[in-house]
Amino acid sequence: MKKSMKKLAGLGLTLAMAAALTACGGGDKTTETTAGKAAETAAAGETTAGSTAEGTYKLGAIGPITGSTAIYGQAVKNGAELAVNEINAAGGIGGVQIEYNYQDDEGDTEKAVNAYNTLKDWDMQMLVGTVTSAPCIAVGAESSNDNMFQLTPSGSAVDCAKFDNQFRVCFSDPNQGAASAQYIGEHKLATKIAIIYDSSDVYSSGIHDKFLSEAANQGLEIVADEAFTADNNTNFSVQIQKAQDSGAELVFLPIYYSQASLILAQAKQMGFETQFFGCDGLDGLLTVENFDTTLAEDVMLLTPFAADAQDDLTVKFVTAYQEKYGEIPNQFAADAYDAVYAIKAAAEKGGVTPDMDASTICDILKVSMTEISINGLTGENMKWSADGEPDKAPKAVKIVDGVYTAM
């Protein structure tokens, strides 16, 4: 009795599995068609709004909106959405509206590939993403295989722009590391430097490694080189103590702001008063909840975007973003915003039409990306080289009286 029951249960489950497989195939198609219908209705709405071309562009985006890096993915999601809405309101790319679909990757390589495949099922034509580096590399292998145009707003590892279909908006990690060392060296900020970095984080260790090699060229002396990992990133007293004992004049923090806020607070408690210098990961420091912003006084950071810059573009972006999402945008949101506008510029330059398939669009954009120059939030006259790297100048800002001030 029991065994036959098991057998039948097993068979039933096999069938259920097969059914699930087919069902999800079918299920996805129905969602596709509904999406298609939504697109049609959207397009119909646009024709009344004065657009002439048929169809829409399908712009996909991937990033983490759950998990430990959700804050960056959420910023990218919002920033890109804002740009898409603005472009659509102004008539779209060459008169064609954009459809936008954002998929969660949880900051995981495997999930990122799943997200990419989901977007492919949705007939995505261009991809903004992914937000974090390791997933970006994994998706890159797939997108280059499919010849899908990929522009990552914030994937800063070198390999994120490895293939010719991949471009990025942010600086690469080595670029930031080298630029930081050069900036400190050229402005004679300090000669004895301590570093506290996250050895388990790609971004942090990428900057750290390049900083070390460039520091030697700049005549900087690394007196303490202390690492922590994602598993013990709440108590930094050991690292701070070592930095203090080494007599460092400047502490370089190539890390994200959540840990930096703790380091600043703990350094203050331990009576370690020194100069802190960081990269774009520190952007967001002033918005940490319950963080005493006086602790961040005089902290310097190298970032392409400062939310309180006074140029028209930034002011407009920050106001719109705050109105819609109720928070001050960080650099990730700005990168994503620029990414969407870069795609718009490149698509218009290359004469892309929405009836082209992803591969054709990619071939056109690969060329036209190198021909455009846009004034974005994260840099003026941004240009791209064929290897996917952006050409823009890093800006250093200093926190004075609780606000970023350009240096």
Partner: protein, 364 residues
């Protein structure tokens, strides 16, 4: 169908028939999927998920060997997967030029991954399996974290002078011009060739099943289970407890290593994070095993497949999917294992099957 024929003709015993059903289930699923893929009925998402499904099925079966058959709780199974993934990926990258044939290279990579994970399993197992109770769970948990953290600080590069290794940073490697960094600390390994396919995955599942099911039904397997059921009794009849425990544990670890090989050769970027090789993953695999039934190999595969598919199928719900996934998990656990519901299912839903069965038996 073939099972009933088998049973009629050869009067197979209960376990052999049950095993054949398990193999048949995998093969049937493979054939169905292949037909659907060839017919173009499968979405890109599903195609992308086929290899992960194989990976997690193998993981679940291998963990079931430790938890269900050996009766020890291992919370660091993802650590063995990590060992397999990194060692095989390293092998593939080093041999990229030496062995140009992808098939042979991947075959050797699987062996390398399985062997290194087995070695890791033995190293952990020797001191720990002598202990009793929950110590194994604690030590394996620690082991998984140690592996993940060690992998995150290894820098390994290759140039004309040979291999260089450092635990500090990439510049310490002192590579020559044109040297290639293979393991780059937290950035892991990039550019592993994508050799894993669904067919290879299914073959590996079948091999895993073959190893595990045969082990269970062998003399050694009975010894292992006797250790699980009553350690003192087993010892008193002269069974070498440590030997059999270590045997099961090492086999389980090496199979996890095989899953790791598939994992690393499916994605071009391999990093050891909390998400993929941390204890979250280990516990996720334990969930597959518990849901599928501890000691029930077939159940492990089914639950691994369902629970891997579920979050992807729920993508339509956006961020709510995490919540829904958790609720579905709770409901499934209750449905499967709550005593009241087990009674309920016995009384109601399977009644029809019972009557059919008796008919079948009468007919035969």
């Amino acid at each position: 169908m073939d099972k009933s024929i088998n049973s009629k003709k050869f009067h197979l015993n209960k376990t052999t028939r049950s095993n054949l059903i398990t193999y048949g289930m995998v093969i049937a699923a493979y054939i169905i999927v292949q037909i659907l893929v060839n017919g173009g009925h499968v979405t890109s998402l599903m195609k992308g998920l086929l290899v992960p499904l194989c990976i997690y099925s193998i993981m679940a079966v291998s963990l079931n060997l430790t938890v269900g058959i050996l009766g020890e709780l291992s919370l660091g199974h993802a650590g063995f997967m990590c060992v397999g993934a990194f060692s095989s990926s390293l092998f593939s990258l080093l041999m990229l030029e030496t062995i140009p044939n992808a098939g042979i290279r991947f075959f050797l990579a699987i062996l390398v991954g399985a062997a290194s994970a087995a070695v890791a399993g033995i190293i952990v197992g020797i001191p720990v399996l002598r202990l009793r109770g929950d110590y194994l769970a604690i030590v394996t948990l620690a082991f998984g974290e140690i592996i993940k953290n060690v992998v995150n600080v290894i820098y390994l590069g290759k140039d004309s002078r040979g291999l260089h290794i450092s635990l500090k940073n990439a510049t310490e490697l002192n590579l020559e011009e044109g040297g290639q960094i293979i393991i780059n600390g937290a950035m892991g390994i990039t550019g592993t060739p994508k050799n894993a396919t669904f067919t290879i995955g299914v073959i590996l599942i079948l091999i895993t099943l073959f190893i595990v099911l045969n082990l269970i039904n062998s003399r050694s397997g009975r010894a292992i289970m006797s250790v699980r059921d009553n350690r003192i009794a087993a010892e008193s009849i002269g069974i070498n407890i440590t030997k059999y425990k270590l045997m099961a544990f090492a086999i389980s670890a090496s199979l996890a290593g095989v899953a790791g090989v598939l994992y690393s050769h499916n994605l071009s970027s391999l990093t050891a994070t909390q998400k993929n090789f941390g204890y979250n993953q280990s516990i996720m695999i334990l969930v597959f095993v518990v849901l599928g039934g501890i000691g029930n190999i077939r159940g492990s595969i089914i639950s691994a497949v369902i629970l891997t598919l579920l979050p992807e199928l729920l993508r339509g719900f956006n961020t709510y999917r995490m919540l829904i996934y958790a609720i579905v998990l709770i409901v499934m656990m209750i449905f499967n294992w709550a005593p009241a519901l087990i009674d309920f299912r016995k009384r109601h839903s399977l009644k029809r099957y019972f009557s059919k069965n008796t008919e079948e038996k009468e007919a035969s």
